[in-house]
Symmetry: C2
């Protein structure tokens, strides 16, 4: 079973803080995410700066695009992003328009999406989804459970490359043992750690331990 | 029946173009929207610049927020926005978190939302929705029809202040005659007109003609 990717999400409200954070861990992780909060605050400068720092890494611009997919995807692609995200309630034309302008598109799963919709995404050629424990839901006391793992496995069985995110710790990775997770995404789990470089390394070591080096 | 508001959406991919566009019509319209494309490109500078130009106008930061509602709303509020938008598939905790940090929140209706969800938004204190003909859906040949007008009227009857947007022209405003629309939103219908100032004035005159000065 392939070792899942490790993705760091930069969800800072200003670019200098994000650059400081990524400098410590960018060489360790597989994928760098320019988070929604950051891109809404710093604009495409955020993507451009992080691309300049890490020319060889996969960079995701987490726009959670809901409309004007072609323009949004083209803009972040020009700024240096490899992938962008679309929100699950976007229309299929929006998703297709985005997919035409950038290497890959990921559907962010929030709220009441359905497997029928997911079949439509696959039919439109979209093969990446992000299963998301909402930050606000986590703050409201919700957490990972069998209900989540069942949904994630079903999405994998449908043929999606599935990223998971939301409140992940090194300890919670073992919950996913035996599942072909494509990517684990964590933000403050790495960037807000006392020693972010050590935290990123511990995540990576645990992925290697569970899924094989 | 109160005259609906006129809102101009700035969906430019760079700040100078947006500023040029708004300078021509900002004094005519009621509400200025810093569009999603613009804010993803220029960040909070876009909100700050337009607030500096129009200290007395209602300004919407169209973040289409799906998560981290508190942080996103607080950030755009600090930059000078009166309102921000959340996407309809965001969780209720996300919507509530956003609503706590800014004067008002509008739910953007995309894809397969339900009236049951809409009741939950009302129960959470969210009273503005934006009924949206997706730009990409319009490009794919879809248009305004009875199906849309029925949904809009039902939302009004539920107690929402309803904004409508997507492919509106001066001629299409009459379709909504007799309906208590809160706001008509147009972007390129004004900003891409040969004479944007004249286009904005024509929209406003038609609103006054139909709904009374």
């Amino acid at each position: 079973m392939t070792r899942p990717n490790l993705q760091v999400a930069l969800d800072h409200s200003d670019l200098p803080s994000a650059i400081e954070a990524v400098k410590a861990v960018g060489d360790i992780v597989d994928i760098i995410e320019v988070g929604t909060i950051l891109i809404l605050q710093a604009g495409d400068q955020a993507v451009k700066c992080i691309r300049a720092m890490y020319p060889g890494k996969t960079i995701v611009a987490d726009t959670k695009c809901a409309d004007a997919g072609g323009t949004v995807a083209e803009n972040v692609q020009k700024a240096g992003a490899d992938w962008t995200t679309v929100i699950c309630c976007a229309t299929i034309p929006t998703m297709k328009a985005a997919a035409e302008k950038i290497s890959d598109v990921q559907v962010e799963l929030y709220g009441d999406w359905t497997y029928e919709q997911a079949e439509l995404w696959l039919a439109a050629g979209i093969t990446q989804v992000i299963y998301h424990q909402s930050r606000d839901a986590l703050l409201a006391g919700e957490t990972w459970g069998d209900k989540d793992l069942t949904k994630v496995q079903k999405l994998i069985d449908m043929g999606f490359r599935v990223s998971v995110t939301g409140g992940l710790t090194v300890e919670t990775l073992a919950l996913f043992k035996g599942m072909s997770i494509y990517t684990f995404i964590t933000g403050r789990g790495i960037t807000a750690a006392k020693n972010p470089e050590q935290a990123a390394t511990e995540f990576l070591n645990e992925l290697n331990r569970i899924w094989g080096a």
